[in-house]
């Protein structure tokens, strides 16, 4: 299992477009990936779960991955978040 904190830098937080980019990326990995925010934990492959988290700008999320490509999944997600999901 790999755990890491990632910061959401996008202006409006993890809204529809960055959430779409996140789910699209994570769905490529075989591992189970979860995100935790304000004590709520959701499946990172679920766009609906991600949207209802309503992650605010500047928020810190905990990402947790379990599976054969867990490290890769977390690293890729971290990089994407730092690049503001290639949106801004």
């Amino acid at each position: 299992m790999v755990r890491k904190e990632i910061k959401i830098l996008n202006k409006h937080g993890l809204h529809t477009r960055p959430a779409t980019a996140l789910v699209t990326l994570i769905s490529k990995f075989k591992s189970d990936v979860f995100l935790e925010y304000n004590g709520v934990r959701v499946n990172a492959k679920s766009i609906l779960g991600l949207l209802v988290l309503a992650v605010e700008p500047g928020a810190i999320l905990i990402v947790e991955a379990n599976g054969i490509d867990e490290q890769e999944a977390v690293d890729n997600l971290d990089r994407l978040a730092q690049q503001k999901f290639n949106l801004e």
Partner: protein
């Protein structure tokens, strides 16, 4: 009494109770399922998701290729949401645990997501509930075989009051129960507006006091004078009574007599119907009309917020043909301008957009052959059930017609191989509405069976004005009449028929001008049919032909307009 001013979208006068329409409010059919039915019920859900996914994928690709990346991402999000694994698991568990039918379970799960979104502090996330409603509507559409499941519960004929009305919303409302429409947002060119006019539902918009209207039990909607009357007294009601009755008669009687088939002096004349909705055609009596001169197929897409698959299209076209018995029906293949694509997706429209983008019409379809092929297959299969013609919109080059004919031939051999029936000798026509094709009319005439003049777009191309600004009377311009004259001459030379299917044909003065220069066949919307028929039967072709020279040599639109107006009042009234 109190009045509120608005903007007319569709004319008429009605009185009645108010129904407040909220988007995405459905009556959910709820029942319990037996254990042995669980698998088939859940399988229906999988099928509905798969169909929704296919539609959204096609829409996303279209938007991506023809609009922009940004809008494509919104569709991408819907695509992910419609097949969200967590959501599907939750629905499945709810079905097992509570033995609920799938629509009920699905609604509940989606409702929970909506509630969670609404609970968030950020306005930005709250607004996303609109997306969830769209997704829900799409999946429910595929889950429900009966259309009425997604209709809001209007129990008696009412005036619908809403913030906004999308074409999709309008389609799901029972026309017989909709007396009129009042909204805060909505424009004349909106597709909800086109629909309201097609079904003759009075509609006014730009009304800010929606909530106040809702508090009244009975109101008068006077769309002709662009106002809503509240707090109506018996006197006011009595003074409106005859106008309301007149409108009701006009609305119920689309046309009461057979449309005219010749002019006053016995010159044969064809008057066809423009339509875009299957329901609209169902309301017509084929014994009274001569056929459908323009069936706008893209309206099927606007109704459904996606491009229907071949089978769905086939059933729609077949229904139209069967209703029309053996009268001709001209199916115009999809005419997707950027505006129609946006309307289909029901996205907030960028108002500044130009109508004639670099794509649209047949050129766009040839760039997206899978869409064109599915549509042509559907039309050809339906052609076994009636008198079918095919028309290509916005033809720019002869080559586009040649390529379309090749595709048609390929499809015909496919259908033969598959043992599927289709009509023989299906005529193919081209719409003449761009400036570039005006230079190739003789060559074009060799490849098609008829011409049809789209005056709205022709005016845009020749005069270059936007659809929203001052289009109203610009077809009186001498350039338009000279272009139409040129088209008539080319069609006569080639021996193929020509008609006018644009708005111009239903303008009483312009119709005289068209007839004067040689038009003998027109296609107009159902609302204009009775008036146009009456006018044609009163026109004396010999008399109006005397106007030809002065029309074709006029310097400006006003000269033509005044002449035609004078002729109309002297000869026809």
């Amino acid at each position: 009494m109190k009045t509120i001013k608005g903007v007319k979208i569709s004319s008429g006068v009605v009185s009645g109770p108010v129904f407040y329409f909220e988007r995405g409010k459905f009556t959910v059919p709820k029942h319990f399922i037996r254990e042995e039915d669980f698998d088939s019920e859940f399988e229906r859900f999988n099928t509905a998701i798969r169909k929704s996914k296919d539609e959204l994928t096609q829409v996303r690709d279209l938007v991506h290729n023809h609009l922009d990346e940004d809008h494509a991402r919104i569709i991408e999000a819907q695509l992910l949401a419609v097949q969200d694994e967590e959501m599907i698991t939750a629905v499945r568990e709810l079905m097992i645990r509570e033995k609920r039918n799938v629509i009920w379970a699905y609604f509940e799960v989606m409702d929970d997501y909506e509630k969670l979104l609404l609970k968030t502090l950020s306005q930005f996330f709250k607004e996303r509930t609109a997306d969830l409603k769209d997704i829900k509507k799409r999946v429910i559409y595929h889950l429900s075989h009966e259309k009425d499941i997604i209709q809001p519960e209007i129990l008696k004929p009412s005036i619908i009051v809403a913030e906004k009305m999308s074409p999709g919303d309008l389609m799901h409302i029972d026309h017989n129960l909709t007396l009129g429409i009042i909204t805060r947002y909505g424009g004349v060119d909106s597709h909800a507006g086109i629909l309201a006019r097609a079904f003759r539902v009075p509609y006014i918009s730009n009304i800010n006091m929606i909530q106040e209207i809702v508090s009244y039990s009975e109101i008068i909607l006077d769309a002709d004078n662009e106002m809503v009357l509240l707090d109506i007294t018996d006197d006011i009601k009595a003074s409106y009574e005859s106008r309301i009755q007149d409108f009701r008669r006009h609305r119920d009687n689309i046309i009461s007599d057979k449309v005219a088939n010749s002019t006053k002096d016995g010159v044969p004349y064809h008057i066809y119907l423009n339509a875009g909705f299957v329901d609209e055609v169902r309301a017509m009596d084929p014994a009274l009309i001569q056929g459908i001169g323009l069936f706008r197929t893209e309206f099927l897409c606007i109704e459904r917020n996606s491009i229907p698959d071949e089978s769905e299209q086939f059933h729609a076209y077949k229904a139209v043909l069967e209703k029309m018995n053996d009268l001709p029906v001209v199916f115009r293949v999809y005419d997707f301008g950027r505006d129609k694509l946006l309307a289909m997706l029901d996205l907030e429209i960028l108002q500044e957009d130009h109508v004639f983008d670099e794509w649209g019409g047949i050129g766009f379809l040839l760039d997206n052959p899978e869409i064109l092929k599915a549509q042509l297959r559907a039309i050809l299969r339906a052609s076994a059930y009636g008198n079918t013609r095919i028309m290509l919109p916005l033809v720019m080059f002869v080559d586009e017609v040649v390529r379309t004919k090749e595709i048609l031939e390929t499809i015909k051999s496919e259908l033969k191989r598959e043992g599927l029936a289709f009509g023989e000798n299906i005529e193919l026509g081209a719409m003449i509405e761009t400036s570039s094709v005006l230079e190739e009319l003789d060559e074009l005439a060799k490849h098609v069976d008829f011409f049809s003049i789209g005056t709205n777009d022709l005016a845009l191309f020749l005069l270059g004005s936007g659809r929203t600004t001052g289009l109203t009377k610009n077809y009186y311009h001498p350039k338009i009449f000279r272009a139409i004259d040129k088209i008539i001459k080319a069609s006569n030379k080639a021996g193929i028929p020509v008609d006018v299917c644009g708005e111009m044909a239903s303008d009483p003065y312009a119709l005289i001008g068209l007839t004067a220069i040689g038009i003998r066949s027109i296609s107009v919307s159902s609302g204009a049919l009775a008036a146009v028929s009456d006018e044609v039967s009163k026109i004396d072709v010999q008399q109006c032909s005397l106007l030809v020279d002065s029309i074709l040599s006029a310097d400006d639109a006003f000269t033509i307009y005044s002449q035609l107006k004078k002729f109309y009042h002297e000869q026809l009234e």
